[in-house]
């Protein structure tokens, strides 16, 4: 990987000089295209050489060498970030060291200090960045350092602004490795390099996801259990959130609901496979809600869904059969056709936005539940962990999934959830920085 992505040494030097010299203008069009052309040639070489020998890789990666040189006690230099750039959201975890000695503080370069102060003293960044304060992990020991782990997110569409900020704050002068996962690690890599002179260490998102899940569960959520389930999921009155001990988790079905959905069967910490996925995920919920109701944010869509009623939109079994379809064991309340009532013009005209939002949520959630259940049967796994940002502040879906798993499997399947929903990929990326595999 390193060999493939390392820039030509000469080019890097020039680039560094430019930034170090404080010339803050963007690279000229000419130089950008020159870099691109060079990249193209490089890629061709890398592909032909099959990625290059390990020795080549070491020799050609000056930045890695610098980082290794500056290592103290086998630790990477601060700042410690893990980033997961998804289709809709960027998830960033930042480790804030709390055990900084006076000596260290003196040595700490201004850039680094300002980043630390900026991130920890704010809960919102720009107009769209948000720190999920309630998820912060306190007094965590990572690589021998004590500190707090912060969880930050912002929309992927603001990536250009983020990269620009990295450039403006001379992030590249910190000689840190930016570990990134998710599709955006690939998509935005050239931008990071060309705009901010930053080299990404790209990591596989599913590797990171599993790493992150196992790690966060092991350190616990500030003394509480990270994992939970619902007792009596089919009884609205008795239904209760309970901690779950995920100590011996294998085999496990891991369902990651982001913009789309990936379903993994995990057999041990490094043995897993992606069973399948579906394109009907969080992005579909939000996309359809925006089209149907004119809303523009996930929060808005969820808020409407909470107030809405899906049974006006969906055609239920009882709408067709007058009650249960006993012959096939289908209860009257089950949805026979999602949006089925909307085939009728009169009903379309009298429907409210809240009901449409609710029906969209229920449709997407039930479908994920149904595909998950089939995968669990095919893989012969009876525990399912649901993660991903679709479940953020989305109690409706969480409970619906718990219900659906339990009801349709007649109690055979257990739905489990994790408090840090969508952040596991970025945690995995951070762990890769600290303990490279």
């Amino acid at each position: 990987m390193n060999g493939y992505h390392s820039p030509d040494e000469g080019d890097t030097e020039t680039g560094k000089e430019e930034t170090a010299g404080g010339k803050q203008q963007r690279p000229s069009k000419e130089s950008a295209s020159r870099t691109k052309a060079a990249d193209g040639a490089e890629n061709a070489v890398a592909a032909a050489a099959g990625g290059g020998t390990p020795r080549d890789r070491l020799a050609s990666n000056s930045r890695t060498r610098q980082r290794i040189d500056s290592l103290k006690k086998n630790r990477p230099p601060f700042p410690w970030f893990g980033m997961d750039i998804g289709g809709t959201l960027v998830k960033l975890v930042y480790f804030e060291p709390k055990d900084i000695t006076a000596e260290e503080e003196q040595e700490e370069v201004e850039n680094l200090k300002s980043i630390r102060k900026y991130l920890t003293s704010n809960v919102a960044y720009g107009s769209t960045g948000i720190r999920d304060v309630h998820l912060e992990l306190k007094d965590l020991t990572l690589c021998g350092r004590k500190g707090n782990l912060h969880f930050i997110r912002f929309p992927t569409q603001d990536m250009p602004a983020f990269i620009q900020m990295g450039r403006d704050k001379h992030f590249s002068s910190l000689h840190t490795t930016l570990c990134a996962t998710g599709g955006g690690a690939y998509k935005f890599e050239p931008d990071f390099r060309e705009m901010a002179d930053l080299q990404l260490l790209k990591l596989d998102e599913l590797d990171c996801l599993i790493k992150g899940v196992l790690y966060i569960d092991s350190v616990k959520f500030n003394g509480h259990s990270e994992c939970y389930y619902f007792e009596n999921p089919t009884d609205p009155v008795q239904c209760q959130k309970k901690p779950y001990n995920l100590e011996n988790p294998y085999p496990l079905l891991l369902v990651n609901i982001g913009s789309g959905v990936s379903i993994l069967a995990v057999y041990s910490k490094d043995n897993y496979k992606r069973v399948t996925g579906t394109s009907l995920g969080g992005g579909t919920f939000l996309g359809l809600c925006c089209l149907l109701t004119g809303c523009s944010t996930f929060e808005e869509a969820l808020e409407m869904a909470t107030r809405g009623e899906s049974t006006t939109v969906d055609k239920l079994v009882r709408d067709i059969y007058g009650g249960d379809y006993e012959r096939f064991g289908l209860p009257g309340w089950a949805v026979a056709s999602s949006f089925g009532n909307m085939m009728c013009k009169e009903k379309r005209e009298s429907i409210c936005k809240e009901d449409l939002a609710r029906a969209t949520l229920v449709t997407i959630t039930n479908n994920i539940g149904s595909i998950t259940r089939m995968c669990a049967l095919n893989e012969n796994i009876d525990r399912v962990v649901f993660v991903g940002n679709f479940l953020r502040i989305n109690t409706l879906s969480v409970k619906l999934l718990a219900y659906a798993m339990d009801y349709w499997s007649k109690g055979q399947l257990k739905a489990l959830f994790l408090e840090h929903e969508g952040y596991f990929g970025s945690v995995g990326a951070l762990l890769e920085l600290l303990n490279p595999t």
Binding site: G260, G287, K315, S337, G340, L377
Partner: protein
């Protein structure tokens, strides 16, 4: 063409008034015995059983032992009236239901029937109308069991019922040869929701799952998103759209492919993922396309998961979402291929729309037990695949074009596979599939077209005593020519197109107009001659040594077949040289190797058997 009768009174709205050509749509109503109806969300399927009286040629041979009569014929052909059973299925839009019921009532003469079996979601809604109009008691039957019964029936009785759909291929339909053992299979019925049914035998089936994301979701959600009311219009929008502007693709997230997982950049990562914004407009076409992909992929994925769990490889798709629409067949096929990596094929059914009606009918016909017989599709009375498909024939969707028909004739005996076949499931009786070979198709269609004049002439000549023979023969000409034209545009209309099916179609059309066999007199004359010649041929063949004898037999078979198929070249020869005989035909045979020549292999095998 018979005069059309205009029905439907002035009180009806325009939509409900329709011109029904009675000779062509509800045929044989005067002999209708039993009714069944399947009323779906938009289409009604009426089924009835009738008896058809038609002429048949009967052969009676004379005892000639010991006599050497040169002039007397060896056998006699007489035309007799025979009554056979026929199943009629007619499909039309629900808007015409009242008009059609009135028409049926008006033309119903002497039925003893008291009940009508009804199924489908609309059976309840139209119950009163049915009882009022037809004066028949509505007896409701479970939808799913009707569907399965109908599915089993068509799979068993109609060759080339199931097909694989391959977009842009030539032909787009790949028909499956009928397998004698149809069970077990998975039926995915995509109505407003989706039902997934595992069928293990004639009587044993189980709904193993389903999904609420189905045709109703496409329709309902599609109508909300595009403000387009009709299902067919939504599909048309979808077929013009580009989903990539609405869906978030893998490459939108990764910038390219997700190589390590083998996910290509064009795969949809998140359906409607790009529409999560308030400040962009999306075209109706693009949204409809994205929706179609979303639903088709989802159904395909679930179907695959169920097929895998139950270890089933035959998966049939039906329901109003499919209804012969190329665009939905394509997206479902694509999805199945993607999720099973080609291990499972999506199969569609030519008569998918009739399954419920057929099943409901069969339930009410237990005393006649149609399952005891074999039934054959009557090509003369059936509309053929996609005759009213808006995708194929947008122009044809006029009022009278909304009727689609299927007729099945009861065969005298139950058909079984020839027990001598090594493997009946892989045996294909026809050497050529004309749907695959455009040149051969054109050759044979022209051949049959050019022969039409001669057939009409023979037909008239075969019934010299009947005054209306000429008029009927002209009707036959029109009908058969129309069939040939249909087949030229849609070679797949009746399954695989073969010389045999062209001949069958001609025979069905001739029967339709009461010409059991226009060639009977010629055949009689030729058979007479042949039988007299027979002894001599046998003797001359017997005189040859073993190897020469086999070769002589094969040459005889080939020469004889030239006459039998009535190929154009032969008929030309016969027209110009009446003396052209068997020996001449043998002399005309080409030297070996023949076009298809497995003679040597055959001889080798035969030698082993002889030894």
């Amino acid at each position: 063409m018979a005069a059309c009768s205009r029905i439907g009174g002035g009180g009806h709205s325009m939509d409900k008034s329709i011109t029904l050509p009675p000779d062509e749509i509800f045929r044989n109503l005067e002999n209708a015995k039993r009714f069944a109806i399947d009323i779906g969300g938009s289409l009604t399927k009426l089924a009835y059983y009738s008896t058809v009286q038609h002429k048949v040629a009967k052969v009676r041979s004379f005892d000639h032992t010991g006599k050497e009569t040169e002039d007397e014929p060896l056998y006699e052909i007489s035309v007799q009236e025979e009554i056979t059973a026929r199943l009629h299925f007619i499909k039309f839009e629900n808007a015409y239901i009242e008009t059609c019921l009135d028409f049926v009532k008006d033309h119903l003469v002497n039925t003893e029937t008291k009940v009508i079996k009804a199924t489908g979601g609309g059976a309840h809604k139209f119950k009163d109308l049915l009882e009022k109009k037809l004066k028949l008691k509505v007896d409701k039957e479970d939808e799913m069991s009707c569907l399965i019964k109908g599915c089993n029936f068509v799979l068993k009785n109609i060759p080339h019922e199931a097909f694989v759909y391959v977009k842009h291929a030539e032909p787009e339909f790949r028909f499956q040869t009928t397998h004698p053992d149809i069970f077990p299979y998975l039926l995915i019925n995509i109505g407003s929701g989706v039902s997934i049914v595992k069928v293990e035998s004639e009587d044993k089936f189980e709904r193993i799952g389903g999904s609420s994301i189905g045709g109703g979701t496409f329709w309902g959600l599609g109508a909300l998103l595009t403000k387009t009311k009709r299902f067919d219009e939504l599909l048309q929008l979808a077929s013009r759209g580009q989903h990539t502007s609405v869906d978030m693709l893998v490459k939108d997230i990764y910038g390219g492919a997700y190589g390590s997982l083998g996910l290509t950049g064009d795969l949809i990562a998140s359906s409607f993922g790009k529409s999560a914004t308030a400040d962009k407009e999306f075209s109706k076409e693009d949204m409809a396309k994205s929706l179609l992909h979303m639903i088709s992929n989802d159904i395909g994925q679930l179907a695959c998961l169920y097929a895998k769990l139950h270890n089933l490889s035959r998966v049939y798709f039906g329901g109003f979402f499919i209804r012969g629409h190329p665009v939905t067949m394509h997206t479902i096929t694509y999805s199945i291929n993607f999720f099973t990596k080609g291990e499972v094929q999506a199969l569609f059914l030519r008569h998918e729309g009739y399954l419920g009606a057929i099943g409901a009918f069969l339930k009410g016909a237990e005393e006649d037990n149609p399952n005891q017989y074999s039934w054959g599709e009557n090509y003369a009375g059936s509309s053929g695949l996609m005759s009213v498909s808006p995708d194929m024939f947008p122009m044809q969707r006029t009022r009278s074009g909304t009727f689609d028909m299927l007729e099945m004739d009861r065969l005298e005996r139950q058909l079984v596979n020839l027990p001598l076949l090594l493997d009946s499931s892989s045996y294909i009786p026809d050497t050529m599939d004309l749907t695959e070979d455009a040149m051969a198709r054109e050759y044979w269609l022209s051949c049959f077209e050019e022969a039409l004049d001669g057939v009409v002439k023979r037909a008239v000549a075969s019934q010299p005593d009947l005054q209306d023979a000429r008029e009927r023969a002209e009707k036959f000409r029109l009908k058969y020519r129309h069939k040939l034209q249909t087949l030229r545009h849609q070679p797949c209309a009746y399954g695989s197109l073969t010389v045999r099916s062209l001949l069958d179609t001609r025979e069905h059309c001739l029967n339709e107009f009461n010409f059991p066999d226009p060639y009977s007199q010629i055949k009689q004359r030729e058979n007479d001659l042949a039988l007299r010649y027979f002894q001599k041929v046998v003797r001359s063949v017997e005189m040859l040594n073993w190897e020469d004898r086999q070769f002589a037999l094969v040459k005889g078979l080939l020469a004889g077949n030239m006459f039998d198929w009535g190929a154009k070249a032969v008929s030309d020869v016969l027209e110009t040289d009446p003396a052209f005989g068997f020996d001449e035909a043998k002399r005309q045979l080409q030297e070996r190797p023949w076009l298809v020549d497995s003679y040597s292999k055959w001889i080798e095998r035969l030698k082993i058997i002889v030894e």
